[in-house]
Symmetry: C2
Subunit: 75 residues, 2 copies
């Protein structure tokens, strides 16, 4: 299952879409989420638009800041 660029992009977009949904459900702005995890707001926006291959540690930090199980970011 070597990820070709198309598959990689789909995974990033899927994650970004899910992050946006959970963030909105939590009532946090991109700015507030960015501050909570120590990332730049632009980076949060890029993640949500599927433009970033987010790291494990940032994934865990985002889940913690949203107070959701990590797995729910992949539902």
């Amino acid at each position: 299952m070597t990820a070709d660029p198309q598959q990689a992009r789909e995974w990033q977009e899927g994650f970004g879409h899910r992050l946006r949904t959970l963030r909105k459900e939590s009532g946090l702005s991109q700015m507030a989420l960015a501050n909570a995890v120590g990332l730049h707001p632009t980076y949060i926006s890029e993640i949500e638009r599927g433009q970033r291959n987010v790291s494990l540690v940032n994934i865990r930090a985002l889940a913690a800041a949203l107070r959701v199980p990590v797995g729910s970011l992949f539902d």
Copy 2:
């Protein structure tokens, strides 16, 4: 929830431990899993020892190769 180095290391070790468990349950060697996702076997070993901050795309590829839901890598 800005991840300090200690927290980041714990997340990486947790993920690595879980990956090893699921890999062994699947019956795949580190070499076979590495080939399946297009990574070097040493990299798989480093991930399992908590030494790598794995990317989203590699996390998804690992789950696909192990035929498990991504969330189960975080259980």
